[in-house]
Amino acid sequence: MKRKHRGTRYFYIVTYIAMILVTVIVTVGFLRVYLRTDPRSSRNETYDKYYVLVTDDRESAFWQSVYKGASDYGLNHNVYVESLGEGISNDYTKAELMRMAIASKVDGIILNADESEEMEQLISEAMDASIPVVTVNNDCSNSRRISYVEVGNYNLSKEYSKQIMEIAGNMITEEGQMVKVAVIVNSVPSSGQSIISAGIQESIENSVDFSNLISLDLVTVDESNSFAVEESIRDLFMQESLPDIIVCLNELDTTCVYQAVVDFNKVGQVHILGYYDSTTILQGIDREIIDSTIKIDTVEMGELAVEALLSYERVGFVNQYNTVDIILINNTNIREYYTEGSNETQVQ
C-alpha cells in the first residue's frame, strides 16, 4: 500500500516534470524552427572562387541554360558562378558589366563577347587585374582572352546551307524562281555570326545547282537598345518583298521571327531556320512554323567555360578553342525533344 502510494506520488511528480519538459521542448523547438528562417542565422555554403557570366541577354533560355551549366559545374568545384547583373535593378551593357566585374575583383569572367574595340580593351583591363576571361558563343578574337568556347560555327554554317538548299530545291521545282534567303545578323559584329554567314555564303556559291538560284542577304538588326531587335525584325516583315527563308543565328532572333510570322500571317510563306531549342522554338517546329533549329549543348558550354578558367588557374594556360556539339532538330526528330503540353511558353 505504501509502495503504491509512493508510486502515485512519483507519478504526479513525473507528470509535472513531463508537462514542464513538453512546454520547454515546444518553446525551444518553436524557436529553432522559426529562427532557422532567419537568413542571418543560417549558414551559407562558402566558396573559394567567384566567377561571373557577362552577357547582355541574361533572360534568354540559351544563356539561362549556359549559366546553369556553368553554375552547377562550378558548385561541384567550389566555385560560385553568378550571372552578373542578375540581382541589380538597372540594366547595364556588357561593357558596364565588365567594368563592374573588374572593380569587384572577381576571380574569373565568362564573357559573351563581341569584336568591338571596347570589349578588347576591357578584356585587357581584366587580364591586367589578373582576372582571366573566357569568351563563350561569341569571341573577341583579337583580345587577350584565355580561351573561347564556341559552337562549331563552321559546321553550323554547313548545316544551315544544307537546310537552305533543301528548302530552295523544293521551291524551285514548284515555282522556278530565285529564292531569297535572309540571314539575320546583329549590328555589333560577332565572330560567330560572321563565320556562320560567311560559311553559308561560301557553301551556296560553291554549289553548282544553287549558286544562281539563291540570293543571300545579310539583314542587320539593331541591338543598340533593349527592344530594338524585335522592332528590326518587324520592320523586315513590313517590307514589300519578304525573304523565302530566314536564318536566325540566336535564340532571341528566332523567337521574334517566329512570333512575327504568326502575327503577320505568313505561316507557310516564310521558312525559318532557327537557333537553340527553347520550348517556344520547339513548339514552333512542332506546329511546322519553324522548319528546323539547332540544339546546342549549352550546359556543356557553361561547363567548358568554367573548366577553362579552372585549368588556367591551375596550370597557367588552357586550350584557346573549345567546341560544343550541335544537333539539328526538325519535324522528323522533334518528338525526341518536345511533347505537346510540356511547353511552358505559348506564342500569343
Binding site: 509512493r6 508537462m19 540581382g87
Partner: protein, 495 residues
C-alpha cells in the same frame, strides 16, 4: 530515520501541491515568454540591415557630393568634409561580407565592398589630381569615379530591395510564427492548467480520501452501526491521527456495548430462571393441592358408601358406587390441569349425586347450561370446589329447601360460569377476604375435598392471567351466594 512524504503534516502537503503547480505554471509561462520575447526581438531587428544600407547610401552620397563640391570650389571645408565622409564610408564598407557564398546578398555585399574600394581609390586619385591641378586627369578620374558611384548605388539599391523583400518575407514569417506561437502558448497554457487541475483534484482527492472514509465511517457509527469496517490508517498526518483516535473510540464503544449486552443477557437469563422457578413452584403447589384433595374426599365418600350399604339394597348402592367411581376416575384421569367445561360439569353432576345421597336428596340441584359453550377450557377442579363450598357453607344448615344452581351462559364474548346457592349468604367482609386470598384455610373441615376457595381463585388467576377472576355476589343473610367467573370462549364453540 527517513520521513515519508505521506507522514508530513497536511499543511505541508497542500503547500507542496501549491508550490509544485506554481512552479509548473511559472516554468511554462517563463519558457513561453522567453520564446515570444525572442521572436519579437527578432522581429524588431528585421529591417536593421536595411537601415545600415540606407546609412551606407547616405555616406556614399556624402563622399560623392563632397568630392564634387571640392572639384567645384576647392574649399578646405569640402576637403575636410570629404575626408570625414570617406572615413565614415570606409568604416561602413569594412563591415561588409567578403566571403563568396551561395547567398546572392553576400556576393552583392562583397562586390559592393570591392567596388567601393575601387571607387574610393578613384575618388582619392581625383582629389589628388585636382590638388595637383592636373585637369585632364581629374576629369577622367571623376568620370570613372562617377560611373563607379552609380554602379555602387545601383548595387546598394538592388541589395536594399532584395533585403527588403527578404526581410519582408522574414517579417511576415516571423509575425506569423509569433501569432501561431501565441496560439500555441495559449493551447499549452490551457493544457497545462487543465492537466494541473486534474492532477490537483486527483491528488487532493487522494489526500482527502482517508478523511472521506473516516467521515463515512463516522456517519455509520452515528446511525448506530458499530460494525463498520475501521478505516485504515495510511499516514501519520492529522487525518491519520484522527482516524487512529476514531478507530480506538469505535473499538472501545464496541467493547462497552458487548459488555452491556452480555450483562443484559445474564439478567434476562436470570429473570427467565426466576420465572421458571415460580412456575414450577406454582405447578408443584397445584400438584400438591390436588394431591391433598383426594384422601379426604375418598375417606368421606367411602363413609357415605358404607352408610348406604347398611341402609339400602344393591340398586342404589350400585348407582352410588357408580357415581363414586366416576368421580374418582375423573380425579385420576382429568388430572392434566386444563380440561373441558363439559367434563367439569360432569364432575359436578357426580358430586351432586354423591352429595344428594349423603343429604338424602335434600339439595335441589339445578343446571342451567348452554350446551354450545361446554367446549371452553377450564382448569380442573374449579366448579366442583365451588359447589362443594355452596353445599358445606351455603345450604348445609338452612331449614328451608336447599337449592344449588349451576349455570353456563354466554355473556358478550365470554363464558359466564355461575354457582349459586340459596343458603346463608356471605358478608361483604368475608367476600373481600376470600377474593383477596386472606381467608384462613379451615383445614379442620373433613367434608371438603381439600380444595379451598383460595386455591380455586389462585389457579383461575394463573389460568386467566388476571387478578380479577371471580366475583362473589351475596345479597344478605339467608339470601344465598353466587360465585361468578368468566372463561374465554373457544372459537370452535361458534361452529
Amino acid at each position: 530515520m527517513k520521513h515519508k512524504f505521506s507522514d508530513f503534516p497536511l499543511q505541508l502537503k497542500i503547500a507542496f501541491i501549491y508550490v509544485l503547480s506554481s512552479v509548473l505554471i511559472l516554468v511554462v509561462n517563463m519558457s513561453l515568454l522567453i520564446g515570444i520575447t525572442t521572436v519579437s526581438a527578432r522581429l524588431q531587428r528585421t529591417y536593421e540591415d536595411n537601415l545600415s544600407l540606407n546609412e551606407m547610401t547616405k555616406a556614399l552620397s556624402d563622399v560623392q557630393s563632397s568630392m564634387t563640391q571640392y572639384l567645384n570650389v576647392k574649399s578646405s571645408d569640402s576637403l575636410e568634409e570629404y575626408y570625414i565622409s570617406e572615413q565614415t564610408y570606409r568604416n561602413l564598407i569594412n563591415e561588409l561580407n567578403v566571403e563568396v557564398t551561395d547567398s546572392n546578398a553576400d556576393v552583392m555585399q562583397r562586390n559592393i565592398k570591392y567596388m567601393s574600394e575601387e571607387y574610393l581609390d578613384l575618388v582619392s586619385q581625383t582629389v589628388e589630381a585636382k590638388r595637383g591641378r592636373n585637369v585632364e586627369k581629374y576629369r577622367q578620374r571623376y568620370e570613372l569615379a562617377t560611373e563607379m558611384y552609380n554602379f555602387i548605388n545601383s548595387y546598394i539599391d538592388s541589395l536594399n530591395t532584395r533585403q527588403f523583400e527578404d526581410n519582408s518575407k522574414t517579417y511576415s514569417e516571423i509575425s506569423r510564427s509569433l501569432r501561431s506561437m501565441q496560439n500555441i502558448s495559449l493551447i499549452v497554457i490551457i493544457a497545462v492548467i487543465v492537466t494541473n487541475a486534474f492532477a490537483i483534484i486527483n491528488y487532493t482527492g487522494r489526500l482527502i480520501r482517508p478523511l472521506r472514509v473516516l467521515s463515512r465511517s463516522a456517519d455509520e457509527v452515528a446511525k448506530g452501526n458499530f460494525d463498520v469496517e475501521l478505516p485504515r490508517v495510511e499516514s501519520k498526518d492529522e487525518i491519520g491521527v484522527v482516524t487512529k483516535a476514531f478507530n480506538k473510540m469505535v473499538v472501545s464503544i464496541r467493547n462497552y456495548i458487548d459488555q452491556i449486552k452480555e450483562n443484559m443477557e445474564l439478567e434476562r437469563q436470570h429473570k427467565e430462571k426466576e420465572l421458571m422457578m415460580e412456575t414450577h413452584l406454582k405447578d408443584a403447589q397445584l400438584k400438591y393441592l390436588q394431591a391433598q384433595i383426594n384422601p379426604h374426599f375418598l375417606f368421606n365418600t367411602l363413609n357415605a358408601g358404607a352408610q348406604l350399604a347398611m341402609m339400602e339394597g344393591a340398586d342404589k348402592t350400585y348407582e352410588f358406587v357408580q357415581n363414586m367411581s366416576e368421580f374418582f376416575r375423573y380425579n385420576i384421569n382429568k388430572n392434566d390441569e386444563i380440561i373441558k367445561l363439559r367434563d367439569e360439569i360432569e364432575l359436578v353432576n357426580h358430586y351432586m349425586f354423591i352429595i344428594n345421597v349423603r343429604f338424602a336428596g335434600e339439595i335441589n340441584f339445578i343446571k342451567d347450561i348452554d350446551e354450545s359453550l361446554l367446549d371452553a377450557d377450564i382448569p380442573s377442579m374449579i366448579i366442583q370446589p365451588l359447589v362443594e363450598n355452596a353445599v358445606n357453607h351455603g345450604v348445609r344448615n338452612v331449614e328451608y329447601d336447599k337449592v344449588i344452581t349451576v349455570s353456563v351462559k354466554r355473556v358478550e364474548n365470554n363464558v359466564c360460569v355461575s354457582v349459586k346457592d340459596n343458603g346463608v349468604g356471605m358478608s361483604e367482609e368475608i367476600i373481600n377476604e376470600i377474593l383477596s386470598g386472606n381467608k384462613k384455610k379451615r383445614t379442620d373441615s373433613m367434608d371438603s375435598n381439600g380444595v379451598g376457595l383460595d386455591n380455586v381463585i389462585e389457579r383461575l388467576k394463573i389460568f386467566l392471567d388476571s387478578d380479577d377472576v371471580m366475583s362473589i355476589v351475596s345479597e344478605g343473610k339467608n339470601k344465598g351466594t353466587e360465585f361468578l367467573f368468566y372463561l374465554p370462549v373457544k372459537e370452535t364453540d361458534y361452529v
